[in-house]
Amino acid sequence: MAILSMREALNQALREEMRRDPSVFLLGEEVGAYQGAYKITQGLLQEFGEWRVRDTPIAEEAIAGIAVGAAFIGLRPIAEMMTFNFSILALDQIVNHAAKYRYMSGGQIRCPLVLRGPSGAAAQVAAQHSQALESWYAHVPGLVVVMPSTARDAKGLLKSAIRDDNPVIFMENEVLYNLKGEVPDEEYHIPLGLGDVKREGRDVTLVAWSRQVVTALETAKRLAEEGIEAEVVDPRTLRPLDEDLIFDSVRKTGRCVVVEEGWPVAGFGAEIADRVQRECFDSLDAPILRVTSADVPMPYSKVLEKAYLPGPEKVVEAVKKVLYR
């Protein structure tokens, strides 16, 4: 198996799927000549030409709407949001069009698009550029929401997302783009809605996705030194959610901490906590705790940014609480 960065893995997925299926095309700001603001689309314009790798004006509602319209008539657009912060301007197209036309038409229309790009905090890009809005998207029926944490998952899930016939919100993370990991050489894909246990453990269940899987694994390492074995469950897809994987783990450990980069109030972690308390009520030895970002807009200063984000220290603290240590 090759060792690739998530950036390379995503680029491979795009390239392979565009080679396989001529109806797949890419559009977004700087995806072509500039090779992508974060270089995920490196080399694709050269190989596929401007109609399949389209640089757009700065007009997010149009980008998403074009993807919707092209998908309606049978193409398979992949719309890149330079970052998901800007997808707020495209939200009406996603929520009122991509997610609803199949239903409103009584099943006549399908919208096989992928809306992808980095989400969450980068480094010191401040309040308007650091939002983790997965709970907004996961709230909406009609959408699929994917948030990979490794290079392997990213490639396998993006290929599934491109082939799937539903609108898929594929949220990447800039901080993970350089993260390297093993990626199979052969063709593979990972089904949407299938979670993954990233680390086994008996004492406590840590549920995390995207960048926070890294936080959870780092936390687990620290806890192990104190003899606490944490299990790290990565749902990988938030909608549909592989809840059984989470429930089975919590039934085993009796304790659960959710780690997420989003804001606390009505974050997706609340949804997980709700399902776990409902389905694992009798197995829980302690309340479910959540470690989230601070309930404020993201500050610029690096000292405040660190205080804002979830981190191993905060997770360790939460784990000790649920273990009553």
């Binding site: 004006p57 007009a59 038409s105 006549q108 699929v144 949407l192 809840e243």
Partner: protein, 357 residues
């Protein structure tokens, strides 16, 4: 357009008129719920434009969408059933008045978000270019929609990339209760096209033939030169914005003035003067339209309500790339199928004549 074709379009306009007049009646009876936006007065725009489309062309519209579907030949019985929320509705009762779709005819139909379907139309145009076909996409919207950001973004990319899309502003002078001059900083909406260097035209939307000639040129340009056009069709809606609107913001005189220019009456006169039709033939066409509408209502009345199971159907497409074991805990995924629904084909109308698309 030969004599028969002209008569067909006349019949289409009549059918739309009678269909919607009946909608207003049964809305009051409570058979139709929610918002009901009538196209009465604007028929020449939709009928004229759609009569020029090829079967493989596409169109997308605002929520004021009854007329286009009928003009395109969708079965009005399925449309009436949709309005009544029945299982036999063209959208299985899930869409209602604002959401008519008939994909086999290229009708991507009714959008409830003002301006929201313009970027979608641009996307159809983009898909056509990418595919290399010579199809055309038509996009109908109102004078109020031109002030939405979506209009701006869609027109810029359509001009920038030469997309085969014809944007038709149906200027009926009001966006709900707001007169054009209280919403737009410019009076001539087609001039908005100058900001994008896009071909632009104005046309009398009460005149079917005028609509056909201006639209014909635009559709041609889209098909052959792959260039978009912005058209402003001057028209008028006789009724309120929706059933709940008494229309106090305009004078009785203004409405009566416009009704004198009624597109159906005007075209009927022309048929008699220039195409040697006699009043009796027009009257027969009218009776035929009324009879068809009767049949539509009968069909809707006799149709069953959707069953509760259908609530969860048609949200997702069943997909081999989804882990069904976990997905199926969600009833919408459980109910998902791989195929797309296709509107039912009903036996011919009992009334002799038929409406062709």
């Amino acid at each position: 357009m030969n004599r028969d074709e002209a008569f067909q379009l006349y019949k289409q306009m009549l059918l739309i008129r009678r269909f919607e007049e009946r909608c207003a009646q049964i809305y009051v009876e409570g058979k139709i719920g929610g918002f009901l936006h009538l196209y009465i007065g604007q028929e020449a725009v939709g009928v004229g434009a759609i009569s020029l489309l090829r079967p493989d062309d596409y169109f997308i519209t605002s929520y004021r969408d009854h007329g286009y579907a009928i003009a395109r030949g969708s079965d009005p019985r399925l449309l009436m059933a949709e309005l009544c929320g029945k299982a036999t509705g063209i959208s299985l009762g899930k869409g209602g008045s604002m959401h008519f779709y008939d994909v086999p005819t290229g009708n991507f139909g009714g959008d409830g978000i003002v301006g929201g379907h313009l970027p979608v139309a641009a996307g159809m145009g983009y898909g056509i270019r990418l595919r290399g076909s010579d199809q055309v996409a038509l996009c109908f919207f109102g004078d109020g929609a031109v002030n939405e950001g979506a209009f701006h973004e869609a027109l810029n990319v359509s001009a920038l990339w030469d997309l085969p899309v014809v944007y038709v502003i149906e200027n009926n002078r009001y966006g709900m209760g707001t007169a054009l001059d209280r919403a737009s900083s410019v009076a001539d909406l087609y001039q908005r096209g100058s900001a994008y260097g896009i071909p632009r035209r104005e046309v009398n939307g009460m005149d079917l033939l005028a609509v056909r000639s201006v639209l014909g040129e635009a559709i041609d340009r889209a098909r052959k030169e792959k260039r978009p056009t912005l058209i402003e069709a001057e028209t008028y809606r006789y009724r309120g914005h929706s059933m709940s609107d008494p229309g106090k913001y305009r004078t009785k005189e203004e409405v009566e003035q416009m009704m004198k220019l009624d597109p159906i009456f005007v075209f009927g006169q022309r048929l008699m003067e220039q195409e040697r039709f006699v009043q009796a033939e027009l009257d027969a066409a009218d009776q035929e339209a009324v009879a068809m509408v009767d049949e539509c209502v009968r069909f809707a009345d006799q149709s069953p309500w959707p069953t509760e199971e259908t609530l969860y159907q048609d949200v997702y497409v069943r997909s081999p790339y989804v882990h069904m074991k976990s997905a199926e805990k969600d009833p919408a995924w459980k109910a998902a199928v791989r195929e797309d629904n296709v509107p039912a084909k009903l036996p011919p109308f009992a009334v002799a004549a038929r409406v062709e698309g």
